[in-house]
């Protein structure tokens, strides 16, 4: 594993470059196929509304996959991620238009865990339409 960020170069509070990840209906269809999760609430407005949702929502795992990109883009090596966990707090509602929506992700170093293993804890925030969509989103990352 060779992360391009050195443990010595970060401190508690260091911000990772934030990012905005677009998501439209086509992205959800593609993710359904790639992941094998064909739950119709991710592609059928009719069924989403039947179960009490406002509209089609993104797969929670799609949002989780997008959020960690802020970390893997930062380290360069996705293998540097040692632990990653989230809570799904609010759904990402995806309208059926040309624009879709976006997941906004910010992250910062919350703790330096182990000087020898060179691991840090990164806390992430993810919002969509101004609402927090992930809670307790944390990763443990091994730096160079």
């Amino acid at each position: 594993m060779t992360a391009k960020i050195a443990y010595e170069d970060v401190e508690v509070g260091t911000e990772l470059p934030s990012a905005s990840f677009p998501v439209d209906r086509a992205a959800l269809v593609r993710y359904a196929g790639a992941s094998g999760d064909f739950n119709p609430i991710h592609w059928s407005e009719r069924i989403a509304k039947q179960v009490g949702l406002d509209d089609v929502i993104a797969h929670g795992m799609f949002t989780m996959a997008e959020a960690i990109r802020v970390v893997t883009d930062w380290t360069g090596d996705p293998g540097a991620v040692v632990e990653y966990g989230v809570r799904f707090t609010n759904p990402v509602v995806v309208p059926d238009d040309d624009k879709g929506t976006a997941v906004e992700v910010a992250a910062k170093v919350a703790a330096k865990l182990d000087d020898e293993a060179r691991t840090v804890r990164v806390d992430l925030t993810a919002t969509s339409g101004g609402r927090k969509v992930l809670g307790m989103a944390r990763a443990v990352v091994r730096l160079a």
Binding site: M61, A65, T72, D77, P78, Y84
Partner: protein, 150 residues
């Protein structure tokens, strides 16, 4: 109705091996829009110290979830599948999943709770490779929402 607490600690037999294909990794990386070359370019992955292309961190959920699905669908447990939503997800990696891995998942029910009429189920999936080495542990919290009052 509250779920039977005696299911806590129950383990399900290891799944049939899932062979991780490089084109499947490519498809998954494309689906999340992630162009990191470690997912598609063997040389780039090797330059990072990996023996072959690796999968994005959340890829393994596609494998563990179908294993957890067997738990969810266990008729003896009696979870109301139609009402199940994903509460939390956590991964702890020994190493990244990579092309060529043959992964098996052993699922265990970690806990069963009833919160405000909702059934909350924690399932741990231990993922091992064909050599029996640990690759990743996936912890999945599933919430079966209470039925609305009639």
């Amino acid at each position: 109705m509250a779920l039977d607490q005696s299911f806590v600690g129950r383990s399900y037999p290891p799944t049939r091996p899932y062979e991780v294909g490089r084109e499947k990794i490519r498809e998954f990386a494309a689906a999340i829009g992630d162009g990191n070359p470690a997912y598609t370019d063997t040389d780039a992955a090797r330059a990072l110290g990996h023996p072959d292309v690796i999968a994005p961190p959340t890829f393994v959920f596609t494998v563990t979830f179908s294993a957890a699905g067997e738990v969810v669908a266990d008729p003896e447990l009696g979870l109301d599948y139609e009402r199940v939503v994903h509460g939390d997800q956590k991964f702890a990696y020994s190493r990244p999943v990579r092309a060529g891995d043959r992964l098996t998942v052993t699922s265990t029910i970690e806990s069963i709770k009833s919160l405000a009429g909702n059934d909350v189920l924690d399932v741990r999936g231990e993922v091992h490779d064909e050599h029996g080495e640990h690759v990743v542990t996936a912890n999945t919290k599933l919430v079966a929402r209470a039925p609305e009052e009639a």
